[in-house]
């Protein structure tokens, strides 16, 4: 996030899109709901009638996969009505002239055609957003899990820059990160193309820096593969081993039937986890590890706040801490990796990670610090881009609407979008151990609008088979006013009816995020 969680509550206008916030980031949603209670304007753009619609002043319901169109539509109106922030555009950005041609095309009427959002709503929303003193944009996977996810995000940045809503309290473009330490996993270089703090692996200067710090030679200058790419290769037999730490891709990955084949093709699969997950069950070696309550360390939350994790209980049996297991493998492979404590690791991280350099466990003992924090006397950076952007000037990107990779047809007439429910988390390996959570959300469901259900002549609670070009699952139909006509929602948590048997593994070319939010399916009553 460019801004902090608390900061959202201070915005005059909050635009929430592609985020079912009350279920996926419940406590963060309280900040948005409280803002609404205090009379601030919430604009919600989401195909589903999610809980947050009750708190929103405006709710736009785009056809799935048409985000660029409505964002460009808002910009069209803002420029047309001369509501853009010229001072900000002049001083802080570049490339504005280049987008004008493209934006011109996105008249409210044209946008209505693509998105299904009434032209008047586009106009009204554009005014609300542009005229706000401060406006914050919050988005989540509903924006990123598309083949055009990167462009969706750039479009939102365009919109925010256009109105000068960046780099100040109550503003910003705020991605809500899904899992507890996604931010940290990225910051720490758990990505194929960067070391810690996004230092590029193909930059000779950084390679030298890391070779010196780690006292080794021969680091690869070639950016690696993303998880989806590794699995594609494995399917073809071009990938041989995987060491998986605390993930369960056999539920969470797209197009599971193919992914399964990929995993089974590996010569050697090692899984390190706290449970015998679906993925661990097919491993060659399984290592038992610690859960969060058993170890010392840090997590970085969605607002870049580095916070302490502390040991409260002893781990069961012979389980070991994740880092100790990895270090032991390294040492047995001939490269000694030894640390006495997680804090010692953090000290090493600080030395080669500029944005974490000023953070120490001592400093965050009582409360976290937002990176970038370059020195030990630096207070941390709650709000990014206050005086300039990372690259200097903010760049406007020319972005055109692109249809989703898979569109509906006569055989597969419904759009499937996948997501989460409040009571479960990811693949459920943790939440499904709780009777209470299972009581509130016992099984998978196929959420459909009353109209569509009537057309199919299938009733609430009946079992249905759901088919896509890639697979089939069986689950209960849930007729709900949350759903839009033509769009079906299925949570992906449940192994027994894994929604990812249906999804498309087509990925965004830059962020490599699969298109979980749009694929074509059909539904039939189960015999």
């Amino acid at each position: 996030m460019t801004n902090t969680i608390a900061d959202i509550e201070t915005a005059d206008v909050i635009l929430v899109t592609g985020s079912n916030t009350t279920e996926n980031h419940p406590v963060l949603s309280t900040f948005i709901k409280r803002a609404a209670l205090k009379g601030k304007t919430i604009i919600l753009v989401d195909p589903r009638k999610i809980k947050l619609t009750e708190h929103a002043k405006k709710w736009l319901r785009p056809n799935p996969g048409t985000d660029i169109a409505w964002i460009n539509g808002l910009m069209n109106v803002i420029i047309q009505e001369n509501l853009h922030n010229k001072e900000f555009i002049n001083n802080r950005t570049e490339g504005f002239e280049q987008i004008l041609d493209t934006i011109k095309k996105y008249t409210p009427a044209y946008v209505e055609d693509i998105t299904g959002i009434p032209a008047d709503d586009i106009i009204e929303t554009a005014r609300l957003f542009a005229k706000a003193g401060t406006a914050s944009i919050c988005y989540c996977m509903g924006i990123t899990q598309h083949t055009c996810g990167t462009d969706n995000v750039k479009s939102l940045a365009n919109l925010s820059m256009l109105c000068g809503h960046l780099g100040k309290p109550g503003g910003g473009v705020n991605p809500l990160r899904g899992q507890n330490n996604v931010q940290g996993a990225c910051d720490m270089g758990g990505l194929p193309n960067v070391f810690t703090a996004y230092q590029k692996v193909d930059d000779p200067a950084f390679i030298r820096k890391y070779e010196t710090a780690w006292n080794i030679s021969g680091l690869s200058p070639k950016p690696g593969l993303a998880v989806t790419e590794m699995i594609h290769k494995a399917e073809k037999g071009d990938f041989k081993s995987l060491y998986i730490i605390g993930e369960n891709p056999l539920i969470s990955d797209p197009d599971l039937n193919h992914a399964e084949k990929g995993f089974n093709n590996l010569e050697f699969l090692v899984v390190q986890d706290i449970f015998l997950t679906e993925t661990a069950q097919i491993a060659d070696v399984v290592f038992p590890s610690f859960c969060f309550a058993e170890k010392e360390g840090t997590f970085s939350n969605t607002e870049r706040r580095v916070q302490r994790v502390r040991k409260a209980v002893e781990a069961p049996g012979f389980a070991r801490e994740d880092w100790k297991i990895t270090c032991e493998i390294a040492t047995r492979m001939g490269i000694k990796m030894h640390y006495d404590s997680a804090e010692e690791i953090f000290e090493e991280i600080r030395k080669i990670t500029p944005s974490y350099a000023g953070i120490t466990w001592g400093r965050i003992d009582k409360g976290g610090i937002h990176w970038p924090c370059p020195t030990v006397d630096h207070p941390g950076t709650p709000i990014l881009h206050t005086t300039q952007f990372t690259r200097g000037k903010g760049l406007f990107h020319v972005i055109d609407h692109q249809p989703p990779a898979e569109v509906t047809d006569a055989d597969y007439p419904y759009v499937l979008t996948t997501g989460r429910v409040l009571y479960h988390y990811h693949t459920g390996s943790m939440t499904m151990k709780s009777d209470g959570l299972n009581q509130m959300s016992p099984e998978c469901f196929v959420e459909i609008s009353p109209n569509d259900a009537a057309k199919l002549d299938i009733g609430d609670g009946e079992m249905v088979n759901v088919f896509s070009r890639r697979g089939k699952i069986k689950a209960k139909l849930a007729v709900s006013s949350k759903a839009v006509d033509g769009t079906i929602f299925i949570p992906f948590h449940f192994a027994k009816a894994a929604a990812n048997r249906l999804t498309n593994s087509k990925i965004d070319p830059v962020a490599k995020i699969p298109e979980f939010k749009v694929c074509a399916i059909t539904i039939k009553k189960a015999a």
């Binding site: 969680i5 608390a6 419940p26 406590v27 309280t30 899990q145 899904g178 899992q179 507890n180 330490n181 996993a185 990225c186 270089g189 758990g190 780690w214 690869s220 993303a226 998880v227 071009d238 990938f239 081993s241 995987l242 730490i245 605390g246 993930e247 969470s252 449970f275 491993a283 060659d284 070696v285 038992p288 859960c291 969060f292 309550a293 360390g297 840090t298 970085s300 939350n301 607002e303 706040r305 302490r308 994790v309 040991k311 409260a312 209980v313 049996g317 270090c327 492979m333 690791i345 991280i349 409040l422 009571y423 988390y425 151990k433 009777d435 209470g436 959570l437 509130m440 490599k512 979980f516």
Partner: protein, 378 residues
């Protein structure tokens, strides 16, 4: 001047900010004023009146939580009048339900029958489950309240045990309304409200249904703010042993990216309760259902406890030495045979920064490839 923005409490002058209440000035200066219904960050309701103080010149005692401080105001926080009023309030609350924490005073025989009856209603073999952690009990001690002369009032509504996570005990509810404020103004879930009138008054969910059938999302904010034993976490009630040592460990929630700060309450190497950390950003005490109640997995019997190696197609238990050696050898073999770039590591958004760092260091420095990723995009 000098008098502007100065208030006198118990003969001492204090400066105050324009919008501050008497209670806020007092709290800031460590002057004790008891409260029950007051909930920081929400609109004062003045419902319980236990925070009354004496203001010179005012006809009646005033609730300090809802009275703005004013220049020249002279306040007595614990005059005999104030103490009398507070004792009355506390006494009525204690007499209104199953407060069997032995604070209530009866003739010995009456106490026994009262207590036995409560045990029956509670379906529980002990004193009130929040004994020792109850604001009403604290205040009753502080003001030495006796209830000898007051009759036992029977519970109007039976206990609600059908919900996951939360037990609602209406007999111990003092109708302070904190839960309603928390649900409405902090979590903004609007699941509960005051229902019925007078002696029948009750906190109701929706059209007086069980929480599980209402808009309640089991965030537990109401449980955390309830000053008495009227809202009790179900698991804690089952597992926490009274009068036995607990430890409190501050940590970060392991579910979503909000990173709520929480205190794990631990007894005998088991988490028995989770509380939102009220003094910490970003959540100031709030949590959601997963963070507050989704901790069963930690002590699940299904946890992996020993390394496993696939032998003859089946995963079998092994020693650490055997498993580690096998992995190291196989990795070296594959690296030699196929090269580094046919190997990969998936690290995790679930593990710590330190562990992620080690995973990427291992991939790059030991396997010598950049094939490292995590499932965050998924």
């Amino acid at each position: 001047m000098g008098k502007a923005n100065t208030i006198t409490i118990d003969n001492k002058p204090f400066a105050f900010e324009p919008s501050e209440t008497i209670l806020e000035v007092a709290q800031r200066n460590n002057i004790f004023i008891p409260t029950l219904c007051h909930l920081k960050g929400t609109t004062p309701t003045g419902a319980c009146r236990v925070c009354v103080v004496e203001v010179k010149g005012a006809r009646d005692l005033v609730p300090s939580c809802a009275t703005p401080a004013a220049s020249g105001m002279i306040v007595r926080s614990e005059s005999p009048e104030v103490i009398k009023a507070r004792r009355n309030i506390i006494q009525l609350m204690l007499a209104s339900g199953n407060h069997n924490c032995a604070i209530r005073k009866f003739e010995p025989d009456d106490w026994t029958s009262f207590h036995l009856n409560v045990l029956k209603e509670d379906n529980y073999n002990e004193l009130c489950p929040v004994w020792g952690d109850c604001r009403l009990q604290d205040l009753a001690y502080r003001y030495q309240v006796t209830t000898k002369s007051l009759p036992v009032s029977l519970a109007n509504y039976p206990m609600e045990r059908v919900n996951p996570f939360i037990i609602r005990d209406f007999s111990r509810c003092i109708l302070c309304g904190r839960c309603v404020q928390a649900c409405r103004e902090i979590q903004v879930n609007n699941a509960i409200d005051f229902g019925y009138r007078g002696a029948k008054a009750k906190i109701v969910a929706g059209a007086d249904v069980a929480l599980k059938d209402s808009d309640c999302v089991f965030c537990g904010e109401c449980v955390q703010v309830c000053p008495v034993g009227a809202l009790v976490p179900k698991e804690t009630f089952k597992h926490k042993k009274r009068f036995e040592k607990t430890d409190k460990v501050r940590t970060t929630c392991s579910y979503c990216g909000v990173g709520c700060q929480m205190d794990l309450i631990v007894q005998d190497n088991k988490i028995v309760e989770v509380k939102g950390a009220e003094d910490a950003e970003p959540n100031h005490g709030s949590l959601c259902v997963k963070g507050r109640y989704g901790y069963d997995f930690v002590s699940s019997p299904e946890r992996l406890t020993t390394p496993l190696i696939r032998k003859n197609g089946k995963l079998e238990e092994s020693s650490w030495d055997e498993a580690l050696q096998l992995v190291a050898e196989r990795f070296i073999e594959i690296k030699t045979k196929y090269g580094s770039d046919l190997m990969g590591v998936l690290t995790s958004a679930r593990v710590t920064n330190e562990e992620n760092y080690i995973a990427q260091k291992f991939t790059r420095a030991v396997l010598k490839t950049n094939n490292i990723d995590h499932c965050a995009r998924l």
